[in-house]
Symmetry: C2
Subunit: 192 residues, 2 copies
């Protein structure tokens, strides 16, 4: 675990770069410097850049969804699970310098390979389903507490909110902007 193999090191470096600078913002040369391998050697592991992007997006989706499923097991109430979700997206910022991988990739969507796009779509759908399930358990659909709307609509809004809040934080490299944008929904969850 302490010494990752080269392929893993490359994926770690690539994910870091994309989330900080976007898919067009880094090159094999950057990875070469970060990992300590000649840039031509990277092509042995990932023949084309699109292969690398697809691989890191697939891994990212798997890891994030595993984390969220862990919340479902370890955290007792859907209310607290949703609070943990918002905190998780907060922690992904790392001082306001990073974004969720799928946000970082979405801006340059036109230039992505079809397989990469598909990974992004699947991930977003899975995220929204996860949120929707928790919201259904809150039975907010029947206007319990101070919620309005059906779980599907609230799920879509919640996902948009945390991604938008990440952008806000990124705009001035200040995580406090994430907190400001998510204050309302967190207060509402805590009151419930």
């Amino acid at each position: 675990m302490t010494k990752a193999d080269t392929k893993t090191k490359l994926m770690n470096a690539a994910e870091h770069q994309v989330r900080q600078k976007g898919a067009d913002g880094f090159s094999y040369s950057d990875l070469s410097a970060e990992v300590g391998i000649r840039k031509a050697s990277i092509h042995y592991h990932f023949p084309a850049k699109s292969d690398l992007l697809t691989a890191i997006m697939a891994r990212y989706a798997k890891e994030v969804l595993a984390t969220l499923d862990g919340y479902a097991d370890q955290i007792p109430t859907p209310r607290e699970q949703l609070i943990a979700f918002i905190a998780f997206y907060r922690s992904a910022l790392e001082e306001g310098r990073k974004l969720c991988l799928c946000v970082a990739l979405t801006v340059g969507r036109d230039a992505l390979a079809p397989e990469t796009r598909q990974e992004i779509s699947r991930f977003r759908d899975a995220l929204q389903t996860w949120l929707q399930t928790r919201l259904e358990q809150l039975s907010c659909g029947t206007r319990t507490g101070n919620w309005v709307g059906d779980p599907q609509a609230i799920g879509a809004a919640t996902l948009a909110l945390v991604e938008g809040a990440q952008l806000a934080a990124r705009s001035t490299a200040d995580p406090a902007r994430y907190d400001a944008a998510t204050k309302c929904i967190l207060d509402r969850l805590r009151q419930q």
Copy 2:
């Protein structure tokens, strides 16, 4: 008005390109093809690419804020002004293929010139102030209707929501995802 001068044509083309592909996703070569001028000639109008990016961001901010101030004059109630704001961000999508310019630029923020970053910050602050003013007029701070929270927090959340909703639409090039993500807040505004 029908025949824009070259400088304006270049800015129009650049804005279109950035909002569709990001700052790193287009080149002077693309502009050359779109406007019908040799790429070396572009440097006469905008010596460096950063000059062009700063110019289109400044123009974008001015135009959008003028539109919103127009809403304040022409639309009677703050409630309807806010609904118009959400519709405006919807119209900016253009079939799910475009983003708000400041969202498109924020991902690659690290590589932007300081002047461009400053234009983005100023614009975001002005947007949030505009939203906050409308929300104060709704007197939602005192928990009127089914709102919760103070105008400042709701303003930050609303901005994050519409920007996140644009990303959702972009993820599958489908504007319906914008509608899904903004359904809750629109319903709440309409009920009020």
